[in-house]
Subunit: 392 residues, 4 copies
Amino acid sequence: MVSLSDLDPQARSLLEQQTIELPSWAFGNSGTRFKVFTTAGTPRDPFEKLADAARVNAYTGAAPRVSLHIPWDRVDDFEALKVHAESLGVRIGMINSNVFQDDDYKFGSLCNPDESIRAKAIRAHLDCIDVMGATGSDSLKVWLADGINYPGQDDLRARQERLDDSLAQIYAALSRNQQMVLEYKFFEPAFYATDVPDWGTSLMHCQALGPRAKVVLDTGHHAPGTNIEFIVMQLLRAGRLGAFDFNSRFYADDDLMVGAADPFQLFRILHEIVRADALRPDSGVTFMLDQCHNLEDKIPGEIRSVMNVQEATAKALLVDREALTAAQLAGDVLAANGVLMDAYNTDVRPLLAELREEKGLAPDPLAAYLASGYQARIEAERIGGAQAGWGA
Amino acid sequence: MVSLSDLDPQARSLLEQQTIELPSWAFGNSGTRFKVFTTAGTPRDPFEKLADAARVNAYTGAAPRVSLHIPWDRVDDFEALKVHAESLGVRIGMINSNVFQDDDYKFGSLCNPDESIRAKAIRAHLDCIDVMGATGSDSLKVWLADGINYPGQDDLRARQERLDDSLAQIYAALSRNQQMVLEYKFFEPAFYATDVPDWGTSLMHCQALGPRAKVVLDTGHHAPGTNIEFIVMQLLRAGRLGAFDFNSRFYADDDLMVGAADPFQLFRILHEIVRADALRPDSGVTFMLDQCHNLEDKIPGEIRSVMNVQEATAKALLVDREALTAAQLAGDVLAANGVLMDAYNTDVRPLLAELREEKGLAPDPLAAYLASGYQARIEAERIGGAQAGWGA
Amino acid sequence: MVSLSDLDPQARSLLEQQTIELPSWAFGNSGTRFKVFTTAGTPRDPFEKLADAARVNAYTGAAPRVSLHIPWDRVDDFEALKVHAESLGVRIGMINSNVFQDDDYKFGSLCNPDESIRAKAIRAHLDCIDVMGATGSDSLKVWLADGINYPGQDDLRARQERLDDSLAQIYAALSRNQQMVLEYKFFEPAFYATDVPDWGTSLMHCQALGPRAKVVLDTGHHAPGTNIEFIVMQLLRAGRLGAFDFNSRFYADDDLMVGAADPFQLFRILHEIVRADALRPDSGVTFMLDQCHNLEDKIPGEIRSVMNVQEATAKALLVDREALTAAQLAGDVLAANGVLMDAYNTDVRPLLAELREEKGLAPDPLAAYLASGYQARIEAERIGGAQAGWGA
Amino acid sequence: MVSLSDLDPQARSLLEQQTIELPSWAFGNSGTRFKVFTTAGTPRDPFEKLADAARVNAYTGAAPRVSLHIPWDRVDDFEALKVHAESLGVRIGMINSNVFQDDDYKFGSLCNPDESIRAKAIRAHLDCIDVMGATGSDSLKVWLADGINYPGQDDLRARQERLDDSLAQIYAALSRNQQMVLEYKFFEPAFYATDVPDWGTSLMHCQALGPRAKVVLDTGHHAPGTNIEFIVMQLLRAGRLGAFDFNSRFYADDDLMVGAADPFQLFRILHEIVRADALRPDSGVTFMLDQCHNLEDKIPGEIRSVMNVQEATAKALLVDREALTAAQLAGDVLAANGVLMDAYNTDVRPLLAELREEKGLAPDPLAAYLASGYQARIEAERIGGAQAGWGA
């Protein structure tokens, strides 16, 4: 049975310091176009979302930042929200712009052929930069719903030119210590063409913008069969991997808990991260969750997800790199694959329990949270008001 | 240039008689989990939906039936709705049960492990059978959102047994001149396992139920790369193809206008229909649209879709069957494929214009509708009230 | 750390008795359309293939049968081959018919429009039944390359009728204690339509044939995203799952080692097997490998694959069924999923090492084989002659 | 019915001048890993391949160049081959390097961890550059089979660094009037990771090399559901689209005749080409076929393919660009899509027949070829020798 002492000091230190950013919206309701189910205790405002997120950090010790979605998390006083977060032991992470829920954006936001709507969408991003200033966030995260549903509906290339111009205006508004990260997505909500559908497109725009523009890789945003760890490797090689949106999928952008659909894939992704030494806190890569807990409880769903990332990371850190390289150079396919599988097949849960206990945390964060009575308390307290969801 | 006279009398008669059933819900608003855009003039109730559907029939002469969705189309007096339909020149088609929009159905309807919820879902279907009686409909159309999001969430096999029992209870309530059609879907809204995911599963349940249970093939409900016309052929061979839900897709269940994404595929499907002589009005196969006009106008979107099915049908009827068979038996791959492509590459729009003019219709239904001023009228008249959508 | 004693007696017994059938062809060369690489020591005839297969059984104690492919494994004296196998401690398993490597079969075998070629293909199957008689095999395994590359190339439905007739003739030639298993495949080598593309089609033919016709599920023969364990469950429910062809895939029918691409999927499949009590030796389900070791060494590749199936099985047997059912019935999504993941995340390698030692085997079969010097011996001995491959 | 006069003079000129490059290997045998079927009359050497290719040009008037594959098309005297081509009315096009059919390349060519094998692969490309010199070709086309079958088999990033270095050495050997085009492929023959799997990777390498390195887009080399015309648009925007390998697919890299699987997609690709004015002879984009006629006759298969590209091009040239732009800017989804569909639904075969007749060609190249007796002649003459295929 492996224990913490099986990790070399550097690996152990990387594992101890790993942090995972939480999305505020994971604590609100979500669903499909068919139905959004409601749950007792769901937050009614950003302050309550932060309170729930802080619970995840309290039990895992590994989730000290919360990402906001504007306008879903718009408040009158962002300074107060920042102070509230700090009082809960967390801080504000990336600011996500949302330019897809206004009737004006029916035909796009930063790519819209109507110049006045495009200007409105650009302004919405400048507002987000203001929120960054007020909350101490250093990253603007841009995901666009832009695209078209039918061939011919709009001109694909003209949309790229508009996007180019829109992003340049937004990038110009960033201060020197702020960055933009641009997310790509294979499809949905657009059904024929999406304006930033793949990492190549996102990278081209980032290259055009400058060094403080990087790519966001959402693990659910690829075509069937795509080798995601290859893209991770390639973006790291280009120095342009800005952040992960972790989740998992069986079919489309299912937004299930990370590691739930294909834990081996998650391990392979972390292996590329470790291989490129990108687990270092100063690597510039943000590890973030982006999930929808449509059916399962939200807080424990996030705790479980943080644990899944930690387990995949611990396994990746256990890979015997020397033995791996030797087998690779010898052309010994089975031995090389075997080195990787040995690490993957190891049960690292005891090792992580040990790590938590050293930090003064409960060895099993999920059990500890469930025993805490927090869920019953919020169910009792959060009566009335409108539950937060994707629309509010 | 082909004309009506290029069709033999039987083919011409089949084309003239072909009808396409319209979904009432296509006239309401729809969208994605990200946003449902609203549009001026959208119906507020089932009566207005029927009025809009009747416009599609008025201009195409080929859409005389409207399918209802219960409870979306629940009215106090179904008899009145039926009379209203008839006054507009259409009648009520299939009745679709909807057991996925109540919080009770979070973990399923006909497959739910909670017996009381399962009983409620069965009762909802019995109510639909009552609606059939009141409206003169002879078909109960069952599509279930049932499924699970995570491995282990529920027992796959136990869910099948519950489904088996639920369907049997519902089937037993049908009268002799009524049938049940069971739709399958690859995924969505369930993300790990869907309880009726493929034609094999649907067929197995229909076989267990009896001869008046048939399979519904929705053209958007398959895995990437699936050869849909093969399934059409196979279900026809088994005598179990009950209905089509026509639409088109690039990625998942996009519900775009039929023929918009892959018109050649639609032609190949119709070719199998013609090949099996299933275009005959008494073949037992219902041709129906099931689409979401998220961005485009709804009434002209439906008109265009009816026209697309007619064009694919006309092309399929133009296939030189004798030449095709001769080339096939001779093993002449290029010649055989060439016979099919000749029909597909033919521009049948003039032929269909001719057909419409013979029926006393405008040759171009879309242009005629757009010139009619109907859209402006409903935009002016339908002020106030709640626009119909998937939730109402 | 789990040990054998953590399994209840019945589970332990099932694990001890589990056997996996090996494909003779896995020991010959294979490759892609681009290149078949050769390897020193590759068998030159079926006798040498059996010798290699027997090594896999010697080290794992779990692979006592070898499946033959006719004509690849045709020998003058099948009785001698049978005796040879027994002398090596193994016996002959299923007989696979091969009707795709003769120029005559360019347009199909059992579905060929040319009656004389179809008759030849039927005779090839009757020959296989003779081989079954001579070798003591009780199962005829049918996988067909039949299909067409272009729309229109042949008539899809006529091909089904021919298939129906061909299979009936073959089935009629089986004795009462013999069965036929029919494999389906999504695509390849046919690129437009395959005549047995999915489990529904295979099942329909099996139902038409009779109770001794069952479906073969090859884990690499599905569309992207297909939930394979659902099909396993459904075929078990129908009493028609005859055999597995285990392998793994990232893209198409890659034929990689089972468990190499998605070990979690393999576990879920075994979970459905255990759930349906189909691990029992008398369940009628044959577990077989069907792999291509294009780059890795063949004998250790097979050993590794047997171990992978055993590990997935052990994990499936460790699932706490009572806790799982309780969580499922309570609608506790996270707890139910957690029960499954607990078993999956367990490192069962020590448990299996223990099991092997109790049987008098080396705890690590792969290491033991590699230390045995067998590979060096066959490389030295097998000089000259033509290496076995897919064509010989 | 449209005629040539419906095209404006510029469009007509572009259509008249369009040329499609033929692959020499399409005239040899090809197949799948299961079987390569042989055909009477198949060429035995590059001279005979050129003779067959010249027939395609003779009947279509649009295929004046033939691309070679080295070593498949290696001859002692390339000067003689060049003269032979010219005597047949064609010339040598791109030179394709082949570094995947030697046992040395089992673990890769330009990415191989063994430096001596990597050097050999680089030399093979320098040899191709010599062939370019001797034949007057100005383009080196690089497609690599490099990749790995199992996670861990080799280091993904180290392989990129080796690729980078290898390509740089090759690029340095090109003269100023020569270019390199780099093809990407989703998967096959590698099953876990391919070293140039997508356009993003190819583009990154081209950017690193310099302005005379461009991307090759093979229409069969993408993940399911990929919007290929979007990539066309994006590469044109980046000024890096070097060539097309046209073919079509239903599943993987099926290499069927272009336009056979999804003619609407081919039209959409050509629409982006026309939109970007990249049909101009000096646009730098080479239109090339890359197909495998496994079942159909090869020469007429190529003729048909050239015709399919011409038909898609003619339709794209018929798009009413002004009306399209107006509808797009007005947000009229149905009208914009309708403009595109009007062009697509037009039967352009008469127009192309007219074009051919003006050039002094038969209006139906396929019929004319079939009537020529060429096939019977080569079947009679080409007796003995080894038929050309992928291995020779």
